[in-house]
C-alpha cells in the first residue's frame, strides 16, 4: 500500500511532471516564474487548490456522476466545481486567514481555469485511483508543478543578468530554456518501477 503510494508520488513529481512532461499549466509556468518568491507563492496556491479540488471532484464523480451514468459530463462538471471552489476558498481565506490570503490571494483567481487543476482531477479518474491514491497523486503532481516553477524561476533570474542576443530577448529565450529543462526531465523516463 505505502509502496504503491510512493510509486504514484515519484511518478507524478519526476517522470510525469505536469509542466515538463505533460505540458499542463504552461501559462502560470511562464507567467509567474520571473521571481523565485512569486513562483513559490503560485506553487503553494496551486498545491492547495489541486488537493482540495481532487477531494471534491473524486467524491462528485464516484457518488454522483457514476451512479447516474453521467460520466460524459465529467469535464464541464469538474470545471464548475473547480471554479466555485476557488471562489469559495478565496472568500474563506480573506476572512479566516488573512496572512495566507495576502500571500496566495493574488494567484487564486489565476487558478480558476488552470488546466493543471482540471488535468489532475481528470487524470485521477482516468487512472481509476482510490480516494487516498487520488489525494496523494494530486499532492505529488502539484509538488512537481512547484518544483518546475521554482527551478525555472532560478533559471530566469540568471537569464536576467545574462548577455542575451537582442533577437532572443524576452519570450524566445524563455521558451528555449523551458524546452531544455523539459528535455532534462525526460531523463527521468528511465526510472521504471
Amino acid at each position: 500500500m505505502m509502496g504503491n503510494l510512493f510509486v504514484i508520488a515519484i511518478t507524478a513529481i519526476l517522470m510525469e511532471n505536469f509542466v515538463l512532461s505533460k505540458f499542463l499549466g504552461i501559462c502560470p509556468f511562464l507567467g509567474v516564474s520571473k521571481k523565485l518568491k512569486t513562483a513559490l507563492g503560485m506553487g503553494a496556491a496551486v498545491t492547495f487548490v489541486i488537493v482540495l479540488s481532487a477531494i471534491v471532484t473524486w467524491c462528485v464523480q464516484r457518488f454522483l456522476l457514476v451512479p447516474l451514468k453521467l460520466e460524459y459530463l465529467q469535464t464541464i462538471a469538474f470545471i464548475l466545481i473547480i471554479a466555485s471552489l476557488v471562489q469559495f476558498v478565496e472568500m474563506a481565506l480573506m476572512k479566516l486567514v488573512p496572512p495566507l490570503y495576502e500571500s496566495l490571494g493574488i494567484y487564486l483567481p489565476l487558478i480558476t481555469t488552470n488546466c493543471a487543476v482540471l488535468g489532475s482531477a481528470i487524470l485521477i479518474q482516468d487512472n481509476n485511483y482510490t480516494f487516498i491514491e487520488g489525494v496523494v497523486y494530486a499532492f505529488a503532481s502539484s509538488i512537481g508543478f512547484m518544483l518546475a516553477m521554482v527551478m525555472f524561476a532560478g533559471v530566469r533570474e540568471r537569464l536576467e543578468d545574462s548577455d542575451i542576443p537582442e533577437f532572443l530577448k524576452g519570450f524566445p529565450i524563455t521558451l528555449i530554456s523551458a524546452s531544455l529543462l523539459s528535455l532534462a526531465f525526460f531523463g527521468f523516463q528511465g526510472l521504471k518501477f
Partner: protein, 263 residues
C-alpha cells in the same frame, strides 16, 4: 432520450444552483469590511506600482493612507493633481510636493572619458563596479551599462555613447535609479530648476583633466559668477543649492569646461 437530457441538465443545473447558493452564503458569512476610500484612492493614483512612496505598490500605499500611516502627499509620481485628489478623498488639506526629475551628474561619454579596460562581464553596473573600481578611468563617472535604465518603471532613461540620459518628460521621480546607481551620480532635483552640474568627481583638478575632458576641476568660476550664492565648490566639484538658484544661467556661461548644463 429526453430523460437522459433532462437528467443531465438537472444534475448540472442542480450543481450550479447549489454552488451558487453556497457562494452567496459564503460571501455574506465571510464578508470583510473594506474601507471604500481605499478603492477611491487607488483610482486616482497612477497605478505604476513604482514603489517610490516607500510602499509595496499603489494599493499598499492607498491602504496606508486610509489607515493614517502615510501622508496623502506621498505619491510623487502623480504630481499635484493626484495629491489634491487623494487629499480630497481623505478630507484633509493638500500639502503639495514640488515636482522633481532625476538628473545624471556625469557627462563623460566614451569619447571624453575613456575606459580603463574593456568590460565584458554581466551587463550590470553593480557587477562592473566590483572589478578594479569599475571600467572607467574616472573613479566617479557613469559606466553606461544601464542598470538605472533597467529599473526605471517609466522607461525614462536611455543610454547613449556610454552614459545615461534621463528623458525628463517621462521621468516620474520615483528615485529607483538614484538608489540603484553604484556610483550615486543620479540626483533628484526640482523640475523647475534648469541648471545642473554634470560632474560628480571629487578628484582634484589635475587628476580630473587626465581622465576626462568634461570633468569639474573646482576652479570656482561659477561660485564667483553666481549672484545669489547658490553654487559652491565642495570636495573639488561645483554643487548647486536649489533653494537659492534662480535659473539665471550665469554659472553656465562662466564655466570653462561647459559642464553646467541647461536641461
Amino acid at each position: 432520450m429526453i430523460k437522459a437530457i433532462l437528467l443531465a441538465a438537472l444534475v448540472l443545473g442542480g450543481m450550479g444552483v447549489l454552488f451558487g447558493i453556497i457562494l452567496g452564503i459564503a460571501s455574506k458569512v465571510f464578508h470583510v469590511d473594506k474601507d471604500e476610500r481605499v478603492g477611491m484612492i487607488l483610482q486616482v493614483l497612477p497605478c505604476a506600482n513604482c514603489g517610490g512612496c516607500g510602499y509595496a505598490g499603489c494599493s499598499a500605499y492607498a491602504e496606508a493612507v486610509v489607515k493614517g500611516t502615510a501622508s496623502p502627499s506621498g505619491c510623487i509620481v502623480g504630481g499635484e493633481t493626484c495629491v489634491s485628489k487623494v487629499a480630497d478623498i481623505m478630507g484633509v488639506q493638500a500639502t503639495t510636493k514640488e515636482k522633481k526629475v532625476a538628473r545624471v551628474k556625469c557627462g563623460g561619454n566614451c569619447f571624453e572619458a575613456p575606459a580603463k579596460y574593456e568590460y565584458i562581464g554581466v551587463q550590470s553596473c553593480v557587477s562592473a563596479a566590483r572589478i578594479a573600481g569599475g571600467p572607467k578611468n574616472c573613479e566617479y563617472g557613469c559606466f553606461g551599462l544601464g542598470s538605472c535604465a533597467k529599473v526605471c518603471p517609466a522607461d525614462a532613461i536611455s543610454m547613449s555613447n556610454g552614459i545615461a540620459y534621463v528623458i525628463e518628460s517621462k521621468c516620474v521621480a520615483c528615485g529607483l535609479c538614484v538608489s540603484t546607481c553604484p556610483r550615486r551620480i543620479i540626483e533628484l532635483v526640482p523640475a523647475s530648476k534648469e541648471y545642473t552640474v554634470v560632474c560628480n568627481s571629487k578628484a582634484k583638478g589635475a587628476k580630473v583633466t587626465k581622465v576626462c575632458d568634461v570633468g569639474c576641476i573646482g576652479c570656482k568660476m561659477c561660485e564667483k559668477a553666481c549672484p545669489n550664492g547658490a553654487i559652491t565648490v565642495e570636495d573639488n566639484r561645483a554643487k548647486i543649492d536649489y533653494t537659492k538658484c534662480t535659473n539665471c544661467g550665469l554659472c553656465s556661461e562662466k564655466c570653462p569646461r561647459k559642464i553646467i548644463k541647461k536641461f
